[in-house]
Symmetry: C2
Subunit: 311 residues, 2 copies
């Protein structure tokens, strides 16, 4: 396949390396000249403009930060190939793709990362074993989705099918709430040195991600503003219910249920099995917590794995 | 000193061992016959009744679970020596002591623990370096408090002075909220296998203590019901404020402040210095996040350490 990767940071750079290692013809572009030189110096084909990079490409992978994604999409007006991205929020990018009339857009979110960033930190094995959400919407061409799924599973990633809304809701609940809870817990020591002295292991773990750079947490939660707002409403309601249960002596069942959920996480992977490559089947797989590990050559089926706990 | 230790589990057993190692005359008692035999077999003086154990004691240390503390206090009616306890909540025990007219009660909470429990797990070094709250109330006899502080610092613990209310409020905020937040976060995967599949490091750490046995979490938060209720009100209000800040684009300062607080924790210990052994000075030390490491022989001063960040 002929692929253009726009944005050569940790994710884009690793994508460039992994695709090249997989035998694809890849062209990279980055707005930063030094990054372009570094990628060219590493032996990759690098273009000087987005237009040159995407000319003749079957697929454009956008690995630029969310705030500049809109500008880059303007430059893709008229491009009729497949487009994907790697932003950590999917609803707003889907909106942008609609606004710029890019019908062959399939949103993606590789859940890979490490402490370091930039092209220098990129590596071809970054996606091996990681969960990579590929969005399936009513208007998504299934064939485009399967093309991407084949490409991504070949890099060793587990492809999780989900709508943009399902993705944004799930990460708001398990990732963005974790960060905001950590901030609220950390706030409890800002005006009480006594509390800081009495804080122990549960505080240490519960607040760990509060030490993440404020700009990064902000980008996450602002990018996913709608679902983060909904998740905040839900946890506020749930904390009020916890308070009511505490007062009515009715808390033990809740603590047992949530304890069981945590002890069963992460779930063990079940046996690989074939399922039909249909939109309904794929979305059901994602909702069961499952993922795709391979796409059949005839595109009629995929190899799927469900967690052992799911039905 | 002549000390009776009632309850010979992990904390009581360790206290028996540490006091004996410190040259005190110690008598132990436990309601469980097998535990009494085990302690006697380990070479300790063990009584068959609470009455025999406390006869002639200068100090009685109660290391029984909170739910049975009331019954034990009934058996101490008429005892005119010093009484302390090790329960993880201090307001309710203070109430009990008042109800049973025990004027020489000084509440304590050694913040030590390990994965295992029971006399078999006890060890004389358990309290070395741990924070041990000793409660100072308006009606506390300062001399009794200093007697206990000398005893506890000799075991290597850092004595943190605080009122029962200050203690209960602080642990509600840094420990009990950590446990309830973990439960609420864990609840988000109970009805979404997709969320469980997308959950990563922030979820793992933020929910770790949700796997604690439900009965233990319940005992903590029910024992501290009033302050846990207040802390829940506060965090609900704060999460609502976070939602407002997110909507008005005003969240970054909050994230910077909480991030700074987390990065500065735990604070480095400052230099030891002497302070007068007065109620006001000791409570001010505790509010500054400081602790006592030794009591002067003449009882006029104590050696204090404040965190480096405190004034």
């Amino acid at each position: 396949m002929n692929v253009a990767v726009i944005g050569l940071g940790l994710i884009g750079g690793s994508l460039l390396r992994a695709l090249a290692a997989g035998g694809h013809r890849v062209t990279g572009f980055d707005a930063d000249v030094a990054t372009r030189s570094r990628a060219a110096g590493a032996g990759f084909t690098v273009a000087d403009t987005i237009g040159t990079a995407v000319a003749g490409a079957d697929l454009v992978a956008l690995a630029v930060p969310l705030p500049v994604l809109g500008e880059v999409l303007v430059e893709l007006t008229g491009f009729d190939g497949l487009i994907t991205d790697v932003a950590s929020v999917k609803g707003p990018v889907l909106e942008l793709a609609r606004k710029h009339s890019l019908p062959r857009y399939v949103g993606g979110h590789p859940m890979a990362g490490k402490e370091t960033s930039g092209f220098a930190a990129s590596e071809p094995g970054l996606f091996d074993g990681c969960a990579w959400v590929l969005c399936l919407e009513p208007q998504t061409a299934l064939d485009d989705w399967l093309t991407l799924a084949a490409l991504v599973t070949a890099m060793g990633a587990r492809v999780v099918p989900a709508t943009a809304t399902e993705h944004d809701r799930a990460v708001a609940e398990v990732s963005h709430m974790s960060h905001l809870f950590a901030a609220v817990l950390a706030a409890s020591i800002t005006d009480s040195p006594l509390a800081a002295t009495l804080a122990a292991g549960s505080f240490r773990d519960g607040t760990r991600v509060a030490a993440t750079r404020a700009e990064l947490i902000l980008a996450m939660v602002e990018g996913n503003r709608v679902e983060v707002g909904n998740a905040l409403d839900r946890v506020i309601e749930e904390l009020a219910a916890v308070r009511d249960r505490l007062e009515s002596g009715d808390l033990i069942d809740y603590l047992r249920r949530t304890g069981d959920a945590r002890r069963a996480w992460p779930p063990a992977a079940g046996k690989p099995h074939e399922i039909p490559a249909g939109v309904a089947e794929l979305l059901a797989l994602g909702r069961d917590g499952g993922w795709v590990t391979a796409v059949a050559e005839n595109r009629a089926s995929v190899v799927a794995i469900r967690p052992e706990t799911a039905a």
